[in-house]
Amino acid sequence: MSEGYIRRDRDWHPPALHTAYKTSVMRSPRAAPLSFPTSLGEETGPVFGHDMLGALDNDLITNFAQPGQMALGPRIIVQGRVLDENGRGVPGALVEVWQANAGGRYRHKNESYLAPLDPNFGGCGRVITDAEGRYEFRTIQPGPYPWPNGPNDWRPAHIHFSVFGQAFAQRLITQMYFDGDPMIWQCPIVGSISQTAAIETLIAKLDMTQTIPMDARAYHFDIVLRGNRQTLFENRQEGS
């Protein structure tokens, strides 16, 4: 039988309570979570087929735009791989993304920022990884935005990611930031992660080699999901 999934490193993830992020104060459990090894229910998960995707699902520049129109903003491609902790690509992983428009405004009824909506930008997209775990989508670079937390807190430009692996234990939601953005290091949500090395794994790198000339720059962002302990054991045997 499987050895189960590698336990989450809770010092690497943000703690439930991070007082600088005020909403976490009333939404963080006080009791320690109960530890159990994964079993079948966590080692399985829903499967999503490529056939469910529409042709424009991974193109946020056009997937909400009027015919012939495009979203405003710096055009970028975001690409990378979904891997597991053992370094293996995760095929068939559903990646859902959402983001503000180039002015930092979300298309949402609770959004109160004065920056305008872009009539041609919805702000969501999705893609399923290929056999090697690769994914790619096209979008516009989102703008930074102020948010009600401290008196003057701003989110760095970011894209939200929701990722499914092959097991429900791998389920993850995170955010991608952009290399060189000074706002990253002032953000209370980023700061909920205590280790700088962990934060750095969420910063996408500009990759000029993947740029589409005269069209869009490329950012590279890999996502790592939990790995199976059985794989570690197998690999050790192979190596001996």
Partner: protein
């Protein structure tokens, strides 16, 4: 070999519904929202509706959460390629996602009562549903389980429930039957009646 660290989590934030349930958020995308229905046709077993809310440490109901569930079918089989014990009900997806009602915050899942699934050592677990909660202010998605209060016998021998030290917290994992085929399951993030969450 190359060992990598898991990507650290970040909160789903206030706009998770734009990405995961865009149609619910008023953005017409795709062919509807994923996980809105768990049934592709007539399903085997007892059909049930599970409803509930997520409460914060002040007792307020969260209006911006997203709940996902994953469960076995009525025969205890998971609709997954990793399920090797048999073939699950082809009309049952096993996975549901709910944004909660925009007025009340109540989440609802139209599902089936799961069958029993073996634990790692082969002993049978009580019927249960894996539950995952994300929202603004939740820094790492919370895993818990929903069991069924009316499965007294199976619950008594469940390998996970048996190992819970604070017995008075076990009711936080129990869905209450409120009518035939209808269960209520509330999730309390913090404080009195705090739900047991799992590091699993």
């Amino acid at each position: 070999m190359k060992y990598l660290k898991e990507s650290p989590s970040q909160t789903a934030g206030p706009y998770v519904h734009i990405g995961c349930t865009p149609n619910f958020a008023g953005i017409r995308m795709y062919d509807g929202d994923l996980g809105a229905t768990m049934k592709r046709g007539p399903v085997q077993g007892e059909e049930i509706v599970v409803t509930g809310a997520v409460h914060d440490g002040m007792g307020a109901v969260l209006m911006d959460a997203m709940i996902e569930i994953w469960q076995a079918d009525a025969a205890g089989l998971y609709p997954s390629p990793r399920e090797v014990r048999g073939r699950a009900d082809p009309n049952f997806t096993g996975w549901g996602r709910s944004a909660g009602n925009p007025e009340t915050g109540l989440f609802t899942f139209d599902t089936v009562k799961p069958g029993q699934v073996p634990w790692r050592d082969g002993t049978l677990q009580a019927p249960h549903v894996t539950v995952w909660i994300v929202a603004r202010g939740i820094n790492l998605g919370l895993h818990t389980r929903m069991y069924f209060e009316d499965e007294t016998e199976a619950n008594a021998t469940d390998p996970i429930l048996k190992r819970i030290e604070h017995r008075n917290r076990i009711p936080t994992l129990m869905a209450r039957k409120t009518a035939n085929g209808v269960y209520r399951f509330d999730i309390v993030l913090q404080g009195v009646g705090e739900t047991i969450f799992f590091d699993i």
